[in-house]
Symmetry: C2
Subunit: 144 residues, 2 copies
DNA sequence: ATAAACTTGACAAAATTACTAGAGTATTAT
DNA sequence: ATAATACTCTAGTAATTTTGTCAAGTTTAT
């Protein structure tokens, strides 16, 4: 349960590769495709969204590619996923785009809201930098 | 992102209704259907899974229905969802049923693992009792 | 016996995901 | 200029998952 679609997963892995080149080496889609084993066509879609979201900038022409638009310590996993998959919305009722009529009388509304906030809070604290320098190992040790 | 399927949502709401009758009033599927506005046929599927998982017991014959097999303070939301949707598995790589070859070399493996544990930890702490007596309001106030 | 109520497995419509295809635009090295 | 590199964008589609429905049972209280 609570799966993340491949788009989000690939997106994070792609951003990791782009982060490696920060601040001055553009990474091409082709290179990301090779290193992370995701098709070029699919990555185009993903990186395009991330670019529109302002997380990366593209450099055209030979020697071009993608570069982070901010330092890796300033880009959280949460932001990446938000751009690719929209806000955390455990249930349709929690999704601002859908909404629910009976939300007031529903016993579980608070539950899903709390869970969603928990998740978002966590994802906001992890940045690309944590992926780059492997500091996640300690976080996982601390546990819940 | 990170949606919960309706099966899980309905399951929790159904368990909430069953919990109301604990320890001695069996709740029928028909009654749950009415109160939570979910079709009888679909609830059959859901409650059947929960029964097989040992969370509820069924009482047959007239006056029958479903009863919690343990007190509402001893049944967590996590257990309900586990039965209906399997373990939390943010990515296929984290799913014991699928697995991933490159798990050792993958930078994001730890990230998804940590997130999954965070979520499971949270869901384990919330029980049906919390839904019954509205204590969730305080939990959400505390925040992340 | 009879009706209430649960049990089970098969099946199908609908939605979502996970891509692929292909044509187009911009930039730069030579 | 021009060829080569590289990003940009819109559709379309096959596979999968979700979300149910249906119908024919079985069990039990009265
Ligand atoms: S049914 Fe919408 S919040 Fe519970
Ligand atoms: S690709 Fe399997 S763990 Fe990252």
């Amino acid at each position: 349960m609570l799966k993340l679609s491949t788009k989000g997963q690939y997106g994070v892995r792609a951003m990791f590769e782009v982060a490696k080149g920060y601040p001055d080496v553009p990474i091409t889609i082709k290179e990301i495709s090779k290193r992370q084993d995701v098709s070029v066509a699919y990555l185009e879609q993903i990186l395009n969204k991330l670019r529109k979201g302002g997380l990366i900038v593209s450099v055209k022409g030979p020697g071009g590619g993608y570069i982070l638009s901010r330092g890796p310590e300033a880009i959280s996993i949460g932001e990446i996923l938000l751009e690719l998959e929209g806000p955390v919305a455990i249930t349709a009722c929690q999704d601002p785009a859908s909404g629910c009529v009976r939300v007031d009388g529903c016993v579980t509304a608070l539950l899903w809201k709390a869970l969603g906030e928990k998740i978002e809070g966590f994802l906001r604290t992890i940045t690309l930098n944590d992926l780059l320098n492997g500091s996640l190992r300690e976080i996982t040790k601390v546990g819940a």
